[in-house]
């Protein structure tokens, strides 16, 4: 028995992508194998490590615990979608670089997506908030301290960048 097949559209990093998958295809495998987006990493495949975390309509979820067909039509943000169109690193990516928040990088896509969404809900985190934010992601290299520092740095960078945006708007006369 091969099970049912489904044609679906995923809006991945703002681009609608169509593909046809068997019902049993995990979203993580659909992204990596069907759509060729290998930035999403697969560690444990049962929800424990967090490496496969993507944003579904902006909300962090484990792509290894979702069927691709189940999120048909929804917006998926993967690590490939975090940088700006010109390749400028997002605040969270820049903070990971600044703080040396990665070593082998295997866990990093899951951390970046989780923290990107986490800082929207908690824009001014304490170190404890940062630990809670990344509590569901495993990293076997860094010992977490630099990742916690990167969360705090990312919040700082986000504030600075939104300040720049506001300043630019004032300079250009868009805002009084």
């Amino acid at each position: 028995m091969t099970g049912s097949w489904h044609e679906l559209t995923l809006i991945v990093n703002e681009v609608p992508l169509r593909t046809t998958v068997p019902a049993r295809r995990l979203l993580s495998d659909c992204l990596r194998h069907d759509l060729g987006l290998t930035g999403t990493h697969v560690g444990c495949e049962h929800g424990v490590c967090g490496a496969c975390t993507v944003l579904v309509d902006g909300v962090p979820m484990r792509s290894c615990l979702l069927l691709a067909v189940s999120v048909d039509g929804q917006a998926i943000t993967t690590v490939e979608g975090l940088a700006g169109p010109d390749g400028e690193l997002s605040a969270v990516q820049q903070a990971f670089q600044d703080c040396h928040g990665l070593q082998c990088g295997f866990c990093t896509p899951g951390f970046l997506t989780t923290i990107t969404a986490g800082l929207i809900g908690c824009p001014d985190p304490t170190a404890d908030d940062a630990r809670e934010m990344i509590g569901g992601n495993l990293c076997r290299c860094t010992g977490y301290l630099n990742i916690v520092a990167a969360v705090l740095r990312a919040a700082e960078l986000t504030r600075a960048r939104s300040g720049e945006v506001a300043d630019a708007a004032v300079d250009s006369g868009q805002v009084p």
Binding site: H6, L66, G135
Partner: protein, 305 residues
């Protein structure tokens, strides 16, 4: 680590889902958040022929609060219930316990009703449902029935739901007057399933003396366990020595050992955590009665709200 093949159906209407479930019979499994089912499928511990995805049945996505309690639809995610301000006011134990369910990312997808139906003895919400005396509403082509919590959990991962039934909502009764609740658990790592967890409920009389003390336990028995601890502490003031509650509880449980903890260690945790939640719940009940006045300055013992 890949699921075996299955046919997938995704009804958008509740009656369509009920009919499909009746038609497909025991070869079908309901897919809610998938946070327990997907690991089982990937590890091939389950291999259903049909999967019935209820994620698009908007009708089931609700949390509704009334004076009597909180109704939680089958599609309400743990995170939505945890954040719901109305639910926090009507029954604060819900958000306190939900904060201990896995990690936020899992709670964004997993449903509270799904976790109750899954009936894992280490899960928080089944124990909370039992302590509060809540119920599950189930629907099938034969109609609707309400199953009370005390009859819902039959064994580890085994509920009283028939194969043709969909659980449509869970009902958690409101906090009774002059009462407080608290939740505490110990796990190996933050976010893991608990080695032992306890939810406590205390009601005080007008003199701030204990009239009811009950606790619900996870990870100490095959199904959630509720103990009435009133005899141990009845008539004591809320800030008196309540440690007899822990003594009674640890004598009453008969936990199994596993790789995470010996039976003795679990029994020890039952005593310690029981005292923590009973003291915490008693203090909250006192605050409820005195309206944040006389008791506000009292140190809160280390229990979650």
């Amino acid at each position: 680590m890949k699921p075996s093949a299955f046919d997938y159906r995704r009804p958008e209407q509740l009656d369509e889902a009920i009919d499909l479930l009746g038609e497909l019979g025991p070869d079908a499994k309901v897919l809610a958040g998938g946070q327990s089912l997907l690991p089982l499928l990937s590890m091939r511990l389950a291999a259903p022929k049909h999967l019935l995805d209820i994620n698009r049945i908007a009708q089931l996505d609700f949390v509704s609060c009334g004076a009597d309690g909180v109704r939680v639809g089958a599609l309400a995610r743990h995170a939505a219930l945890e954040r719901d301000a109305g639910a926090r006011a009507v029954q604060p134990l819900l958000s306190a316990a939900l904060a201990m369910v896995a990690h936020p990312t899992i709670r964004n997808r997993g449903t509270t009703v799904g976790s109750i139906v899954h009936a894992d003895p280490a899960a928080e919400m089944p124990a909370v449902l039992c302590l509060l005396g809540g119920s599950i509403t189930a629907m099938s082509t034969n109609g609707q029935r309400i199953i009370c919590a005390s009859e819902f959990f039959l064994g580890p991962l085994e509920s009283a739901l028939w194969e043709s039934e969909l659980a449509v909502e869970a009902f958690f009764p409101a906090l009774p007057p002059q009462s407080g609740t608290a939740f505490a658990e110990i796990s190996r790592r933050h976010g893991d399933y608990a080695v032992c967890g306890v939810a406590g409920l205390v009601t005080l009389d007008d003199d701030l003396r204990i009239s009811v003390a009950r606790a619900g336990y996870l990870s100490v028995s095959a199904t959630p366990l509720v103990l009435d601890l009133t005899d141990a502490v009845s008539g004591r003031t809320f800030d008196g020595d309540l440690s007899a509650a822990g003594g009674l509880a640890s004598a009453a449980v008969d936990p199994e050992p596993d790789i995470h903890a010996t039976a003795d260690y679990r029994r020890h945790l039952v005593g310690v955590l029981t005292n923590r939640v009973i003291v915490g719940a008693a203090h909250r009940a006192a605050r409820e009665i005195t309206g944040n006045g006389a008791t506000q300055a009292l140190p809160m013992p280390g229990a979650q709200p």
